[in-house]
């Protein structure tokens, strides 16, 4: 399975990272190799096997609908690069 530079660009875009032309070529080659290696697994017949998404057999874990105190706003806002009037401040979102 070949990963094209175009696909690398799409993944980079989704991940919000910028890549140079060299990097794109390198990653395309590396990802092709990695996926090629993993492809071996496709030789197994898994028709009768349910997909497994969880490593534990835990199920139905809930908490009661009870209030807990929230964190102090000041403390929370201090974690962010920018804030104003109790809000987080972010670059303008174009409507």
């Amino acid at each position: 399975m070949d990963i094209s530079v175009k696909e690398i660009e799409h993944i980079a875009d989704l991940s919000r990272i910028t890549l140079t032309v060299d990097e794109k070529n390198t990653f395309a080659k590396q990802l092709t190799n990695i996926l090629g290696y993993i492809e071996k697994l496709n030789e197994l017949d898994t028709d009768e096997v349910q997909p497994m998404a969880y490593a534990t057999f835990l199920k139905n874990v809930f908490r009661e609908d009870k209030l807990k105190s929230s964190f102090s706003r000041q403390e929370i806002l201090e974690l962010s690069p920018s804030s104003a009037n109790g809000f987080f401040k972010v670059p303008k979102v174009i409507e």
Partner: protein, 480 residues
């Protein structure tokens, strides 16, 4: 060309819980920004979300009330996208194993029943709220994460709706069901109930679906109805010109009443759903389903039918009464106190109570006239007459006093005592011989005049029915 419009609706309803879906922060609306947040709902690294049981049970209850097939196995998925109102850069939602699938809602349009199929019902978390500063030139937006992580139920229909009326009826029926089962307050002004519509046109008679346009940002039923009209005209004028309707997502602008294309970049979603590893799956067994079923009250459609059968009121009236569960409860409480006059109680509620509620912009829960007070008014009505009863009703609302005490205070009881009225009538006839004579000659209006005179003397307290009888008797006796 004539077109048929094909529509489907996605509804988001905030579920009624104290705490958020995955943490103990409050879901209260309208608090100071970012005062109801913690590391879990802010998506800080290393936190562990734990599912709110009530939110899950509400979802199960809703799925059952919408006649869905319940999945034995359900889980949650990460839906990845970047937007500043989404602190984790993914929304915890359901994609592969929804709580409910293949349900339906029966609606009534122009007296005809129609079934709208529900594709699925699933549970997810709310995003935060973006605030855009109004100062022109401001190069930033503000984010309030109080709403982030509030449990949100999404209900997705099949593209089954063919007219504005059907969509309107579906929205009302759905809202009604959610209110009846008590899983959401459905307050549109607080954003608890929001819609997304998919709208396409096709040539009448065609079986092929046209290109579908999705509209986001519909925060009221009114906006949904407006956008449908807008899209029908926009899309049909494109098709008339032989142009294609683009398959795209548009945003509704409620201020200018237009839909606008979202920039293709915002639209280019690749959600990369995958199972949320921080939450364990939920298995729903038959016992749990049966137990939940017992918590579902009688739903509007069956309540309406029962009101018609049990209280012999019209289907139309039953529809109005059951349109609001609280109003239906109010009516039934009244009927429980006085079984002999369901029709009259229903009339009072539909005509008078509803009018006052609308005028006062209040709901029946906070209405000053309790069911007991209304029943007492209806009971005392024969003694005071209809028109005075209406005045007493208004007085009850203004003062909070009961009908019997108002009637007593203002001595409003009608004079029904025949001997007392006899004397007064005799006197009135003596004082108005001309009118009495006219009536004898067949002039009917003379009687009205005489009754009016008597009402003056009795200050309106004479029972007009009894009065008429006495006059007729006396005047016909006199003419002999």
């Amino acid at each position: 060309m004539k077109y048929e419009v094909v529509m489907g609706l996605e509804t988001h309803a905030e579920l009624d819980t104290e705490s958020k879906l995955f943490c103990g922060c409050s879901t209260k609306f309208g608090s100071e920004p970012n005062t109801q947040t913690c590391p879990v709902c802010l998506g800080l690294p290393g936190v562990l979300p734990v599912m709110n049981k009530k939110a899950f049970e509400h979802s199960l209850k809703a799925a059952l009330s919408l006649s869905c097939e319940i999945s034995e196995f359900t889980n949650f998925d990460r839906k990845s996208y970047y937007y500043p109102d989404l602190p984790k850069n993914y929304q915890t939602s359901q994609n592969y194993f929804n709580i409910g699938n293949n349900g339906y809602v029966d609606i009534v349009v122009k007296g005809k029943e129609k079934r709208i199929d529900i594709h699925n019902v699933h549970l997810e978390e709310e995003a935060g709220k973006l605030v855009h500063p109004e100062t022109s030139g401001a190069n930033y937006s503000l984010v309030d994460f109080n709403r982030a992580g509030v449990p949100l139920l999404e209900i997705v229909t099949q593209p089954d709706m063919r007219s504005v009326e059907e969509v309107e009826s579906y929205m009302q029926t759905l809202r009604n069901i959610l209110l009846y089962i008590g899983v959401s307050d459905c307050k549109m002004q607080e954003g608890s109930l929001r819609f997304e519509a998919s709208i396409s046109l096709r040539e009448e008679g065609s079986n092929v679906l046209g290109n579908r346009v999705e509209i986001k940002n519909l925060n009221s039923m009114k906006a949904v109805l407006k956008v449908i009209a807008y899209e029908i005209s926009r899309q049909s004028s494109l098709l008339d010109k032989g142009e294609d309707v683009l398959m795209e997502t548009r945003l509704w602008d409620d201020v200018d009443s237009v839909s606008r294309r979202m920039r293709s970049k915002e639209e280019a979603h690749d959600y990369r759903y995958f199972p949320e590893p921080d939450l364990v799956p939920v298995w729903i067994d038959q016992e749990w389903i049966d137990e939940t079923r017992t918590t579902i009250p009688e739903l509007p459609v069956s309540k309406r039918q029962r009101f018609v059968n049990e209280y012999t009121i019209s289907d139309y009236d039953a529809g109005i009464l059951t349109d609001d569960k609280l109003l239906a409860d109010y009516f039934e409480e009244c009927v429980g106190l006085s079984q002999d006059s369901p029709k009259e109680l229903s009339n009072w509620i539909i005509n008078d109570v509803l009018r006052e509620l609308n005028e006062r912009k209040t709901n029946v829960q906070d209405f000053i006239v309790s069911p007991k007070m209304l029943v007492d008014l209806v009971k005392i009505k024969p003694a005071i007459g209809s028109s005075i009863a209406k005045d007493v009703f208004v007085e009850m609302i203004n003062t909070g006093k009961t009908a019997p005490s108002i009637v007593k205070e203002k001595s409003l009881t009608q004079m029904g005592d025949v001997s007392e009225l006899n004397d007064i009538v005799a006197k009135v006839i003596d004082e108005n011989p001309k009118a009495a004579e006219d009536y004898g000659k067949g002039k009917k209006s003379a009687l009205t005049f005489l009754i009016g005179q008597t009402m003056k003397v009795t200050k309106g307290k004479a029972n007009p029915k009894i009065l008429t009888e006495i006059f007729k008797e006396k005047l016909s006796a006199g003419s002999k």
